[in-house]
Symmetry: none
Subunit: 414 residues, 2 copies
């Protein structure tokens, strides 16, 4: 099956927005063996959108469009598709009800612009968008299928996952592709690649490996292609078992879930509670932990002790310890963790203090130096880490790393 992707929006063509949508769509399609032939970005111009559709229709079985479905005047996609397919617009009551209930849940009164979002070309199949007012649409012409999705990345991803991919998977019969994602943390890509050289060289030819780095983790994706998904699953599992022996502490999940979910599950299953005392990460660890639904069961709260005064006054760090060792030290984070655990009366506490950058480094403690401590029922552990110069990445990487240290501590206790 061959696909083309068309992204619609002037913001891409004037260079204001990087087109990450087409990247996401391409990776999803590729992951199931669909070949993406071309990605085309065009402006919000009906004539040009139609020209791109004509070209794509000649070359691809599936055409996926994003963008131009909003309620405002610069959103011209629906009208253009109505013309292109010769399908007049008509009010779709289901869509109208959905838009109305979504807006009323937000306390917004529906206006004519929103009502226009319920105009659907007759004959197009509506792909419900639970999280937004712009529905996805599916047009079928001959053997070709055209999907139209909103350009808001969050909504586009939702529709790809819930609607487009399941529909496409129905028609991918013979060849099976099985993917498994192994989540790792704590090793740079080049180091990990070196440690895995032998294992990687010995992978069967029908199993492919991809490294997918991000600031929070490094995913390893194994993709196996064959006829029996059962057989492929067991072959991949065999390889993962070998992998676990090479990097036991760095694998935090065998499904594609973030570290905060893994840690949350361990805490929740063992009826344990957590609090955090953050300096350099400025609330990001708490933000990650509380982004998980139901985290109020195990997360009691936290302190962002950005100033030294806050460290002393709120969580009882000895000002002498700060004077002697500095705020970025094993001694101070250990006291922070112990103080935080007492203050919130939790089983565990994470404390973190470091130099996120870009300023504030010294020869002894350069930018990126970050101390992490975990206080638990059996005492405190503290580790010094060294990240890079980039503030944003340091905050994200240090937060994820702290959660992995907590994970390893929790597993020791089992």
């Amino acid at each position: 099956m061959v696909a083309e992707i068309i992204t619609i929006g002037d913001e891409i063509l004037i260079g204001q927005t990087v087109d990450t949508n087409s990247n996401y769509i391409a990776s999803q399609l590729s992951s199931v063996g669909i070949i993406v032939r071309q990605i085309t970005a065009v402006s919000d111009d009906p004539y040009h959108i139609k020209a791109a559709l004509v070209n794509a229709e000649q070359a691809a079985d599936v055409i996926i469009m994003t963008g131009g479905l909003g309620p405002t005047k610069d959103d011209l996609t629906i009208k253009t598709l109505s013309d292109f397919f010769g399908m007049p617009l008509e009010l779709n009551n289901e869509v109208l009800n959905h838009v109305e209930s979504l807006l009323s849940a937000r306390g917004v009164v529906m206006n004519d612009l929103n009502r226009n979002q319920a105009l659907v070309p007759t004959g197009a199949i509506v792909l419900p968008n639970k999280i937004g007012t712009a529905s996805g649409l599916l047009f079928e012409r001959g053997a070709r299928r055209f999907f139209s999705l909103p350009g808001v990345p969050f909504e586009m991803k939702h529709l790809m996952k819930e609607q487009v991919m399941p529909l496409l998977m129905l028609q991918l019969n013979d060849v099976v592709v099985v993917h498994r994602t192994v989540m790792t943390i704590g090793l740079p890509e080049s180091t990990l690649a070196e440690m895995l050289t032998e294992w990687e060289d010995n992978l069967p030819v029908h199993i492919k490996l991809a490294y997918l780095p991000s600031p929070t983790s490094l995913k390893l994706r194994l993709s196996a292609r064959g006829n029996s998904s059962e057989l492929l699953e067991s072959e991949i599992q065999h390889q993962i078992t070998k992998l676990q022996q090479i990097i036991p502490d760095n694998i935090f999940s065998l499904v594609d879930e973030p570290i905060e979910v893994v840690v949350g599950n361990i805490l929740s299953n063992n009826k344990l509670t957590l609090s955090v005392a953050e300096s350099c990460t400025g609330g990001n660890i708490a933000h990650m932990v509380t982004s998980v639904e139901g985290s109020s069961r195990y997360f009691m709260g936290g302190v962002i002790a950005y100033s030294n005064t806050a460290k002393v006054k709120l969580i009882g760090v000895d000002s002498g310890t700060i004077e002697t060792y500095g705020a970025v030290s094993g001694e101070v984070v250990s006291e922070m963790a112990k103080g935080c655990r007492l203050l919130f009366n939790t089983d565990y506490a994470i404390a973190i203090s470091g130099i996120a950058g870009p300023g504030g480094g010294t020869d002894e403690k350069p930018v990126g130096t970050i101390w992490i401590a975990i206080a638990g029922p059996e005492g405190v552990v503290a580790e010094r880490h060294r990240f890079g110069d980039n503030r944003e990445r340091n905050i994200i990487r240090a937060s994820s790393r702290a959660l992995n240290i907590l994970r390893l501590e929790l597993l020791k206790k089992k």
Copy 2:
């Protein structure tokens, strides 16, 4: 002048690499008024590259290609261009000398693959690449110009800046495009569009408006096209002034910067300090504030009072207030804000408490109900807001909204 961009490389089509090159090129071209009509990503396939060139040649004056110029077998662009333009390859001695000296400076001995990089289609103009072995090339056919640039972003940018842009500028007579971005918050796209109908309808034809929504803000981009950038600037400014009268509280910046930077600047310039007490946003406001470099000058710290105990014990909320009004109430957030301000001894404190979802809602306080309070030198203000059902978006939207309320309070004091 109309341009098209063609990026060549399988890594983009399988979704492994986000195509940031075309974004850079588009922004450079746009900034001088060149219209980018289309961006096309194609695979490393001669047939497909030629098809894209044929299409682009029909529609554009300038075609800029990137990628496929490396020394390895999958780099097919030069051979394809030689075919396409009917210009046989010949060894270019200047290029050969450049490649040789560049490699020897790196301690690398030249091999046949590198030598092939000195093969240039006869009649093409070489654009010297001081920092890499792959030269840029310029082909002229009729009134069309085709630029071929390497795909390595660093080298592509170097050639754009040193070679392509100066060549294009020579032929740009008059047309200029000026873009301005206005950052708004607090109004859904459809509501804003309705409020702006009259203003939008009265925009001069050469000024275009685009709505760019995200969970943290809704950007309005004004693009004006004409002959004098000074005149266009002043025309856009005139429209923005009118816009400010329609939605005075919702515009937080006239440049493309996030709300946390705007608030940080006001605090910093007025030597004011801030602390936060977060419940439902779980540290995200603190995270946004501390993501800004130098935020330690005005941000003293915060408390994540996720449990009621933490609200009472840490920031002195009266447990009776929680019992009477519930944790999600104007009374509780007001006490949180006052308590937080005292605890951290700051000029201002933000407090927030709500139901982020997806569970926990009631008829009276449905999911998405969020109370925000700001305590300052002159007392406390509290507002009730209603967001949607999605936890992640509620956290982000409520955090941004809280920062905007603080911004408005700060401006009142001036």
